[in-house]
Structure formats: structure tokens, C-alpha cells
């Protein structure tokens, strides 16, 4: 299963990229598993940024919790705590 990941602010800086394709996730992968996989793929700094307090995950632009089961082709965004407008 493949998903498309979008990163913002501190998370984007930690990864050095705003968009990352993650390929070959297990068919039952949830958000937690994706976070660990991103840590392995992009390094500890990103892993920490995604585990920081207040970071929310959104799948296809809807906020989900970390146990949410992903589907092939999902867009998964990690939103650090927002500053607001």
C-alpha cells in the first residue's frame, strides 16, 4: 500500500521536504505505523517532529486519530500545532 505524505512547518523542515511518497506499507497500516516508517525512512529528527505534542494527522484533509487505518492512495498530512492567521 502506498500513501502520499504532506509535511508542514517544523515537520517539513525536519524532513527536508514537504511531500513524500511512502511505498509498500502493510495493508493494515495505521497512522502510527506510518509515523514509524517515516522515522526510519527520513531519520530521527522527523520522527521526533511527528511525535511532538499537538501534532495532528489528517487523512484526505480530515483530522483522524493515530490509530486510523490507512487506505492505498490516501493523502496523509501531519499538522504541527498551528499559529493561526
Amino acid at each position: 500500500m502506498n500513501v502520499h505524505v504532506r509535511l508542514f512547518a517544523q515537520a517539513r523542515e525536519a524532513a527536508g521536504a514537504g511531500q513524500i511518497d511512502v511505498l509498500g506499507l502493510s495493508p493494515e497500516a495505521d497512522v502510527n505505523e506510518l509515523v514509524d516508517r517515516l522515522g526510519g525512512q527520513c531519520g530521527e529528527r522527523l520522527h521526533e517532529a511527528l511525535r511532538a505534542p499537538g501534532v495532528r494527522a489528517a487523512v484526505n484533509q480530515e483530522i483522524v486519530d493515530c490509530g486510523y487505518r490507512l487506505t492505498d492512495g490516501d493523502e496523509v498530512a501531519f499538522l504541527p500545532r498551528v499559529t493561526g492567521g
Partner: protein, 152 residues
């Protein structure tokens, strides 16, 4: 006429003003506009620039929700929000909120309501570059406190 734009380029205040006025002409007695500008100081630090980032699609929807709530609550005839993203400098316009209503009390309240929720709920990240460092800004407790007053 409710609409939101997120854009890099500066906005044409006069054009927006005219469009809103034309849309509500005759019915509206009051238009309140708020513009947020980049300040050259923040907590005694000299601000060199401000970088704003958003999540296209989701950010617009987070703002539309605020606008719809304000529209219903205050009986607005029109509300328009423009928010800039990208690299901005002191003196630059960051955000514009226009609210039109029959009476001024509602237009004033709605404009404050929209701004208060923009500050806490709209999906933006801001990085501030000062003379000495660069850091991602956090929503202030003052902003949190301001939004509380709209809750029953």
C-alpha cells in the same frame, strides 16, 4: 457573498471594498474591515520577516467554517477573508476581513469573531525571523482567552 482567498500576492484593498459594497448596496448600513499588518517588533525583538505556510484546501475550509458560523450568528450580508502566505516583511498586509451587516454592532462583532477564530483555528504556521534567530510562532494564550468569550 461569502468567500475566502489564500494568496501569495498582496491584495487590492480598494477593489475588495468596492466589490463588497456593490454586493450589499442599499441593504447594508455598516461595513467593518480589519487588516493585519506585519509589525517590526515582537516581544522586544526586531522582526526581519515572517514566513507563512498553509495546507491548500484544508486551510480554506477551516476559514469557511469560521465565516459560516459568523454569518449565521451575526446575520451578515457578506463576509470576505483574504490571507496571504509566503515571505512577508514589516508593513506588509497579512490578512483582510470584511464584514457587512445592516447595523454596525453586528458588523463589528462579526469581524472580531472572525479574527479571533482565525488566530486560533485557521490552519497556518508562521515562522518569524528576527535579528538573532528564526522560530515557529505559537498561538498565544491571549488569543486562546479571546476566543473563549464567544463560547456560551
Amino acid at each position: 457573498m461569502n468567500s475566502v482567498s489564500i494568496q501569495i500576492e498582496d491584495f487590492d484593498f480598494a477593489g475588495e471594498w468596492r466589490a463588497l459594497r456593490d454586493a450589499v448596496s442599499g441593504e447594508a448600513g455598516a461595513v467593518v474591515a480589519f487588516a493585519g499588518l506585519v509589525r517590526d517588533r515582537f516581544d522586544d525583538q526586531i522582526v526581519r520577516s515572517l514566513f507563512l505556510e498553509h495546507y491548500p484546501g484544508m486551510t480554506e475550509r477551516s476559514i469557511e467554517r469560521i465565516m459560516t458560523t459568523a454569518s449565521t450568528r451575526f446575520g451578515l450580508l457578506a463576509v470576505r477573508v483574504i490571507h496571504r502566505v509566503g515571505e512577508l516583511y514589516p508593513g506588509d498586509q497579512v490578512v483582510l476581513v470584511l464584514c457587512a451587516a445592516s447595523h454596525r454592532a453586528h458588523a463589528f462583532e462579526a469581524c472580531q469573531f472572525v479574527m479571533d477564530y482565525l488566530k486560533t483555528d485557521a490552519i497556518f504556521w508562521k515562522k518569524e525571523t528576527s535579528a538573532t534567530d528564526a522560530h515557529w510562532v505559537r498561538s498565544t494564550t491571549d488569543d486562546q482567552r479571546r476566543v473563549e468569550r464567544w463560547k456560551d
